[in-house]
Symmetry: C2
Subunit: 99 residues, 2 copies
């Protein structure tokens, strides 16, 4: 089993509207893709300082090629919504779920 992982690294002057993200972006993307999306919000680093990652989202997928076909269809619209909630450029990668 694989997943798409979307990581929003913190940076100076980072903005992230979690209200918009959780109420509009995530439900809308989940509907477009027909997938569940898991969301983790950074609280703090291990030592209590600012968390390195503001948010990490993951989407379980059947395969990389299945997701690429979905993204070809909906990717442009999804990417265009990002500036509505953040000025962070997310890092996106494919992961193998090994445990």
């Amino acid at each position: 089993m694989q997943q798409v992982t979307v990581v929003y690294p913190n940076k100076a002057e980072a903005k992230f509207d979690f209200d918009y993200y959780m109420k509009k972006h995530i439900p809308w993307v989940a509907g477009l893709l027909g997938k569940k999306i898991a969301v983790r919000r950074g609280i703090s680093s291990a030592t209590g300082s600012t968390a390195a990652f503001v948010c990490v989202a993951s989407i379980p997928i059947e395969s990389v090629s299945e997701f690429q076909a979905l993204f070809l269809q909906h990717g442009t619209a999804i990417l265009a919504d990002i500036p509505n909630y953040t000025n962070i450029e997310p890092i996106v990668q494919f992961d193998e779920i090994v445990a």
Copy 2:
């Protein structure tokens, strides 16, 4: 619900022994902490280049303070095992599981 997230960012000359990590480190840490540990292994970036994160592990916890008490007890031993499988310094943070 919260989790500890451990991220291993890729770097030049990165080494990561997944065999040791999955067969020794993870089962041993899971036993020490009495926790399940989820592991995701980076396959590639969204565009097919090297994944930014070699590995992401997450541990669901009751609370930050519960985990801090566990880590006070076992942290030194756990950290000392890291050089046995990687030369990457992991980024560790606390996350809120929001979806």
